[in-house]
């Protein structure tokens, strides 16, 4: 055995090196692709002398971003507020509904099909109706909620049903009350699933907010980022469209990263998903 030891330590070392190379390239490669894309975009615009109202150069987009910052910033805040309200409603509503379904099979059988119908009906088709019946800001939040709540509901339901049977038996043996079982067993066991649902819901509530804003914008009101995009399109202010789009993408990425970070921090002590490969 000892004769093999020196050689067997080598794969370990080169393995660690390979890991480091992998982690660097995972960060570096997307940046390289982005730089190449921006460069290519710039070249296409320059070489073909495309006018800015057809396709603005990256520089023009950045310039617009800076010049129009006061307007875009206000719009970003509006959209983010809508997203946040929709997300919170989805998180609370989805978890609460899953808990109700878990308590009562009858309630689940009665209501679950409608939750699915709400999910599969495209929100862009519902948004104009909601704008007729509800005040504008409420309608927009409701749209964000409709899109985002189903993943929370579905994931929480899955999590609540995935409780270890023996642990449930143990709680029964020790005479746990329903509230104790919920608090000390079901919710902690479902937490990884709930957090997974929330991660999806974060991005979806932004989409819901944008869709509703566009629908509302065509009705002539609102000042969110999506409304700015629609408005800029009517005015052929293409650079501003790109700038607003850029802000929306960044907002989506930041929302996702924040939720992933929260999930990691909450689960890091015990859940497989948050642990390194070796631990």
């Amino acid at each position: 055995m000892s004769a093999f030891e020196p050689s067997s330590s080598q794969p370990g070392q080169s393995g660690r090196q390979a890991d480091r190379v992998t982690s660097i390239s995972r960060f570096l490669l997307p940046v390289v692709v982005l730089a190449a894309g921006v460069l290519g975009w710039d070249l296409v615009v320059r070489l073909n002398q495309i006018p800015p109202y057809v396709l603005p150069s990256p520089g023009a987009v950045v310039h617009t971003l800076i010049v129009d910052w006061p307007i875009l910033w206000q719009s970003l805040l509006t959209t983010l507020l809508t997203t946040f309200e929709g997300f919170m409603a989805a998180a609370i509503g989805g978890v609460a509904m899953a808990l109700l379904f878990n308590r009562s099979k009858w309630l689940e059988y009665s209501l679950f099909p409608y939750a699915i119908i709400l999910q599969v009906t495209p929100v862009i088709a519902i948004a104009p109706l909601l704008l007729i019946y509800l005040p504008q800001q409420t309608a927009v939040v409701v749209c964000a909620w409709i899109v985002a709540f189903f993943p929370v509901l579905a994931n929480t339901t899955l999590g609540l049903n995935s409780v270890d049977r023996n642990l449930a038996g143990l709680f029964k043996l020790y005479g746990a009350s329903p509230v104790q079982t919920l608090r000390y067993l079901k919710l902690p066991a479902a937490l990884p699933y709930i957090l997974g649902g929330l991660r999806i819901a974060g991005g979806l509530s932004l989409i819901g907010a944008v869709v509703a804003e566009i629908a509302a914008g065509s009705a002539g009101a609102g000042s969110g980022l999506a409304y700015r995009i629609a408005e800029s399109s009517y005015r052929l202010n293409i650079p501003r469209m790109f700038a607003a789009l850029l802000l929306l993408s960044v907002a989506g990425i930041v929302i996702y990263m924040l939720l992933a970070l929260a999930s990691h921090l909450i689960l890091r002590r015990w859940h497989e998903s948050a642990l390194g490969k070796d631990s």
């Binding site: 038996g169 143990l170 029964k172 043996l173 020790y174 066991a189 859940h271």
Partner: protein, 269 residues
């Protein structure tokens, strides 16, 4: 639901009986007869094993004693079960450690006391004692995933002991462990039993384990699970000497033959 068998016994247990089963049977909803009818008396402080092939209903019997599953017929009595709040008088160790992965070792052992709403100071002392008893005092703050299989099982044992139950029910607790760890835990379990004088019902499919641990081995038949034979193990000292003695081998041989007869009546001598 359980219906009392007429005239089988009066509802109060004799002073030295810890568990009494009378004509206990279990039929599943799909009509499969899983168990019984089963008659069994376990004395206070006795260590018995239920030995049988997989799927013979021995785990079902254990779950019925624990109250986790209702018998379809017959009656079950566990000393103090009706008087004290459920769970206080029974400790249960599952085949898997069945720990909450999100809670530390301390919190896992604390669970039964928390569910019984026992004051924090008192509970912490008892958790500390239970962990010390299984040799895990310095692991109170770790999470289950950081422990080895044997250590997880010890935590599970500490959790079962923390309420100071009269009866300890163990459902093939060491079946998934390696042999070295199993021997160690067998020895530790016997030591705990001698020290605490609990009534232990130990379910296993290992002849060697059942003979080494118990005072009485109950051999069960395959579906429906019935008692086929009963072997009394009259060995005062259970240690490594006993494990390698001719006496132990003879008991194991007797138990193996009884088990073979129970599994397949045709091989009966």
């Amino acid at each position: 639901m359980a219906e009392p068998a007429p005239n089988s016994f009066d509802s109060s247990l004799q002073a030295d009986t810890a568990i009494r089963l009378r004509q206990v049977g279990k039929v599943y909803d799909n009509g499969v007869k899983a168990l019984g009818p089963l008659d069994l008396d376990v004395r206070k402080g006795e260590f018995i094993s239920l030995l049988g092939p997989s799927g013979c209903g021995k785990s079902t019997a254990l779950r019925i004693i624990a109250g986790l599953s209702a018998p379809t017929s017959g009656e079950v009595r566990v000393a103090g079960h009706a008087a004290v709040r459920a769970g206080q008088s029974i400790g249960f160790v599952f085949q898997e450690p069945t720990l909450m992965p999100w809670a530390t070792v301390h919190d896992n052992v604390h669970l039964p006391l928390k569910l019984a709403r026992i004051a924090r100071v008192d509970a912490d002392r008892r958790v500390g004692e239970a962990l010390a008893r299984v040799g895990l005092a310095e692991f109170a703050g770790t999470y289950p995933r950081e422990l080895s299989g044997g250590m997880k099982m010890r935590v599970s044992l500490a959790r079962a002991l923390v309420t100071d139950p009269d009866v300890l029910l163990m459902d093939e607790p060491f079946a998934a462990l390696d042999e070295i760890t199993r021997f160690k835990l067998n020895n530790d379990l016997l030591e705990l039993w001698r020290g605490l004088q609990k009534t232990v019902v130990f379910v296993t499919h290992s002849v060697f384990e059942s003979v080494f641990l118990s005072q009485r081995v109950i051999v069960m038949t395959a579906r429906p699970g019935r008692i086929a034979d009963e072997i009394r193990i009259d060995a005062p000292e259970r240690n490594e000497d006993f494990r390698t003695s001719a006496e132990y081998a003879a008991y194991c041989r007797a138990a193996s033959i009884a088990l073979a007869c129970a599994s397949d009546p045709k091989v009966a001598p």
